[in-house]
C-alpha cells in the first residue's frame, strides 16, 4: 500500500483517518465490524480498539462514524484536508 496515492498525492502525506475519543468509546466494535479496510485493530487490555492503520482509511470517507452510537469517532476537517492536498499538488507540480 506504500505507493498508494490520492489525487496524485502520496497517501502517506494526507492526514485523514478517524480518531477514537476514548472518553466516549464503549468498545462495541461496530466501527471495526463495519470498515473493510483494516483501519482499526483490536487489542487486549484496557484500550481494546486502536486506529492501527490510519493510512488505509479512504480519504473523505466517514462511514464508520455513522455506526458509532456514542459518537466517539471524529475526522479531520474536510476543507483543510482539501486545501492541504491542493497545496501539495501545487508544490509537486512546480518541482517537476
Amino acid at each position: 500500500m506504500s505507493d498508494a496515492t490520492f489525487m496524485g498525492v502520496s497517501r502517506e502525506k494526507i492526514d485523514w483517518a478517524p480518531t477514537i475519543d476514548y472518553s466516549k468509546c464503549d468498545f462495541c466494535m461496530e466501527c471495526d465490524d463495519f470498515c473493510p479496510h483494516k483501519v482499526f485493530e483490536r487489542r487486549e487490555g484496557e484500550v481494546k480498539l486502536v486506529v492501527a492503520n490510519p493510512k488505509n482509511c479512504v480519504v473523505f470517507c466517514r462511514a464508520c462514524a455513522k455506526t458509532c452510537g456514542p459518537d466517539a469517532l471524529t475526522f479531520p476537517s474536510k476543507p483543510e484536508t482539501i486545501a492541504a492536498i491542493k497545496q501539495i499538488r501545487a508544490k509537486e507540480g512546480e518541482a517537476e
Binding site: 473523505f60 462511514a63 452510537g69
Partner: protein
Amino acid sequence: MKCAVLVCSGLDKPLGSLAREVAVCAAEQAECEIVCPVLLNNSPGRYEATLKELPLAVVDGCGTRCATKLATQMGLKIGRRMLLPEAIKELGETFEDSLRPGPEARALALKLALQLTADEAEEEAAETEAVTFPEPADFLKVTHDKFVFPIPVEGYFFNENDCWVQVVGGRARVGITDYMQQTLTDITYFAPPEVGREVEQFDDLGAVESAKAVFDVISPVGGKIVAVNAALEDTPELINEGPYTGGWLVELELTDFEADRELLLTGEQYAVKVKQKAEEASA
C-alpha cells in the same frame, strides 16, 4: 403512514431495546403492524399477508443492520429505513444507554416512530427546468480477471471515491461507478440525501447499500441538491443495471465546477485507478 415495521430488537444492546420501543410506538401511533424478526426468520408465512398489504419499514439499532439483512435475505422490499444512531443524531437528541428504556428513551422512541411513519412530504418540485443528460456514447473498458469495468469518457468526471459526475450546463448528475456497483454486488437500497441541501465537494450524498456493504456516496462536486432519483425507491437494482444511466443518484445545481474539477479525474485517469484498485482487491 401505516406500515409493517421490522426492527432488529437486539436484546443485548440498549439500541436494540430502543428499536423495539420504536416498533411499539409505531404500532400505537400509526396502526403499524409489528413484524417480529425471530418469527419472520422461522416461519415467514406468518407475515405473508401483512407484508403483501403494507409497505415495510425497517429499523436497525446499529451498523450491523441485522433487520435490513434479514429483510434482504427474505427477499422483502424495503420501503423505508432507519438507522437509529443516525436518526437520533439528526433529531439532535441523545440516548441514555440502558437495556430498559426509561421515560426519556421512551419519549425519544415516540419521536423516532413518528418520523418513521410520517407521510411522505410532497416532493418539492424543484423550480428548475429539466435538463437532459445524454447517455454516454463511448466507454473505456478496464478488464481484470473475468471482470469488465466500463467507464464513460465524454462528459463524465470521477473522484477517487468511485463516484462519477456528468455535467450539462450548470447542472450535474452524480452516481457510483460500474466498478463500485460490481464491488457492492446486488444493491438493495439507496438512502437519499435531502433535496434542497447544499453540499460541498466530498460531502456525502447518501449511501448505497447491498447485503455485502454500505457505501457512502461522496460528492465529486459542490452544489445544491435539486433532485434524487425517485425510481430507485422501488428499483434500487437500477444502480446495478445502469450505474451511469438509469441508476443515477442525485442531481445538483453546481456551485463552482471549475474549482471542483481540479480534484477530479477524467475517464482515462480513473481507468488507471480502477485497474490498481481491482488488482489490490484481489491481491
